[in-house]
Symmetry: C2
């Protein structure tokens, strides 16, 4: 069963908004057994919207639109759908009542421009939006289903989850698509591909392996497509083999964000953690602290840029700066031990390096970083040389720190390679 | 002059990768005077790639592809382009020499699978990729130009900037598209639209105004399209009027990320800054510290979750916790003053609130936050009630903190409304 997504909005084409909706929809639709055939972004222009919908219906029976449902003049999706389906607008009293409640709750006056959100094409079924002002629409005409939703991510997700998915399951019968993904850190895609060559060649019919590199991670996605019974057992077996083959570089046998996965592991094991970050400027702490509930196992963390703050707050000895310098294995070790003891934590992570673009010396180039992990049992420091912009440096450093922390916690610190 | 973008990759459709490339390309092409007509994402499937290219060339004369140029088996763009243009592959010796140097520098062996990156369709011009392994391709046949590039963001950006833009300027003559954008914080799109109704209705021909809401910001983008002379003067005048009309909510008369803009303002004015974050978990610090060079004006910052750490590190009196509690105006004030004095900074920002999803009480719901800004002259604390997930809460709080800091620095703290 194939589906296409059409996103509407000048801001998408002109690049003022990054389309995160499509990725979410693609993932969820894929999990439901729908194969996303194509995704098209068009401007807020009636002819472009109509031709994109017409072309999509030439290829598939299900088309999902997002965007162009705001109350302002540049949003024309609703008007265009009326033209396409040859119908007028009706005012939906349920939507109007919802808008009144919502505006009252937010302490805002319901303006005429806001009431327009309750006007919907006569031929559509309303998909109530409990978290925002623009409802979704469900058209089912001549065997073709069109769903239209606002482009605001949490509103789209709400309407999809609560209204669209249940209707899709009733309306269409899908084949079975299974995905299993594992995540590796600090191994190049081409090396991984060479390593997995015979596994890949021997995959049974209907199975495919994809490599998804991003920064210093590679996700390996094993996919099976079948019309009939679910090939669960075979998938499990193949995925298990794949995990074994990648054991050395695998961070998790799941499609995860490394820091979020680590934070959940800290929570599950009730491990109190803290950080002292220099060159990563709080990036790693924030990634860990995005996980709900972590404040119960993290009393605090510090960003320590200057030498003075490293000395005063973490107890790094002054002699470090006059000998090996702040960007050194020794400094990372003092930082990790210092913050762990100060915060009374079980695990502490430290970083010191050159994030760039400035600050490099011939001996200490941009991208150099020492990462420390301190526990009551041991303190491990590793040196890495990372590529990319300042932000990418922080992101890669975070992945390295998660890999190193995981290895320390699993007692695998001995197998850590010295750099990537 | 119209252009279309086609992105290739199962990972885009299935949602394992968010397409950030298209936004960047759209913005840059738009600035060069190209109007992006449509953007299409297709799978790593030869027929899908070919039909998308054929359809795009039915609408426009310039098509830009990204993705599917990796060394692994699932990447088939190059093979497909050979089929489309009816040509074979040639080995590009310059590319091969570049690959050898690159792999030597990274201390890795050049495998056969890597050498394949030097094989390019005979009919294309090579677009050298100095920062990665897959070169770009430029086809110019029958008056239609096709550009193909890798999907790795920094490699694509490098090839576009260094190779594609200069060629496009030579090859095509474009009309003039001008954009000017201002950014507002903490004003609803519909209120803004009502406020600007007469301005919008009176816009001259060729000018349009778009509203781009994201979290608690709305960008207002004024666009002019003309075939002939550049309407700079008229644009300047209209944009100036728009800024005046939005003065109360405008954060900056530019398309900026608030925290990055603030960091540049700190740098330009040599203002030393620091932060004590509770509920925002280092998010605001990291957003500010993403700006290159800031370590020169920030000695450090702290994440202080527990009451004990707030007392020990920032000097918040114990009585605060037994009376008004940690989530209070008083606590935010002590935090901001405490960290400013400790770090010897000119400006300090503090946050304390309920990021959620847990931790709420009837009096202190999820989304409640107090933000403090402390300078030698004054300390201002404001209360906000924010919507959204844990991550959105941090992002919205960051925008509010930037707005408040800007107002304090501009001496406009008196006009700050109490909540949004």
């Amino acid at each position: 069963m194939k589906v296409e997504i059409i996103t509407i909005g000048d801001e998408l084409l002109i690049g003022q908004t990054i389309d995160t909706n499509s990725a979410w929809m693609g993932r969820e639709l894929s999990n439901l057994g729908f194969a996303l055939n194509r995704r098209t972004a068009v401007a807020d222009a009636a002819e472009d919207i109509k031709s994109a919908i017409g072309e999509a219906f030439g290829r598939v029976d299900l088309v999902i639109l997002t965007g162009g449902l705001g109350p302002t003049k540049d949003d024309i999706t609703k008007k265009t759908l009326c033209e396409l389906y040859g119908c007028g607008l009706r005012r939906d009293e349920h939507v109007l009542a919802h808008l009144s409640r919502l505006f009252e709750k937010r302490g805002r006056q319901l303006l005429e421009i806001n009431k327009i959100q309750a006007d919907l094409p006569e031929l559509c079924e309303t998909l109530t939006n409990e978290v925002g002002t623009a409802p979704g629409m469900w058209f089912d005409q001549n065997g073709k289903v069109l769903v239209s939703m606002p482009g605001v991510p949490n509103e789209m997700m709400h309407i999809m989850t609560e209204r669209v998915f249940p209707r899709l399951k009733n309306r269409f019968s899908t084949g079975t698509i299974l995905h299993r993904t594992l995540l590796t850190i600090n191994i190049a895609e081409s090396l991984l591909s060479n390593h997995l060559e015979s596994f890949e060649s021997a995959l049974p019919d209907g199975f495919t392996l994809a490599y998804l590199p991003a920064l210093n991670t590679v996700k390996l996605r094993l996919t099976s497509r079948s019309e009939g019974a679910e090939p669960d057992a075979q998938m499990d077996k193949l995925f298990h083999t794949l995990c074994e083959l990648c054991r050395e570089w695998m961070f998790a046998p799941e499609d995860v964000v490394p820091a979020r996965y680590m934070a959940r592991m800290f929570l599950e094991n009730n491990l109190r953690f803290t950080l002292a970050e220099s060159c990563t400027g709080g990036y790693i702490a924030n990634q860990l602290l995005l996980e709900p509930g972590v404040s119960a196992i993290c009393d605090g963390a510090q960003i320590t840029y200057s030498n003075a703050v490293k000395m005063r707050e973490l107890g790094v000895p002054e002699s470090i700066f006059s000998t090996v310098g702040a960007v050194s294995e020794e400094c990372a070790r003092y930082m990790a031990d210092g913050i762990r003891k100060k915060m009374g934590a079980d695990v502490a992570i430290s970083t010191t390096g050159i994030a760039g673009p400035g600050g490099a010396t011939p001996e200490k180039p941009v991208g150099l970083i020492y990462i420390g992990v301190s526990t009551a049992q041991q303190t491990v420091v590793k040196k890495y040389k990372l590529f990319g912009t300042r932000e990418q440096f922080m992101q890669r450093a975070c992945n390295c720190a998660m890999q190193l922390t995981m290895q320390v916690l699993k007692g695998e610190a001995a197998m850590i390679s010295d750099s990537i």
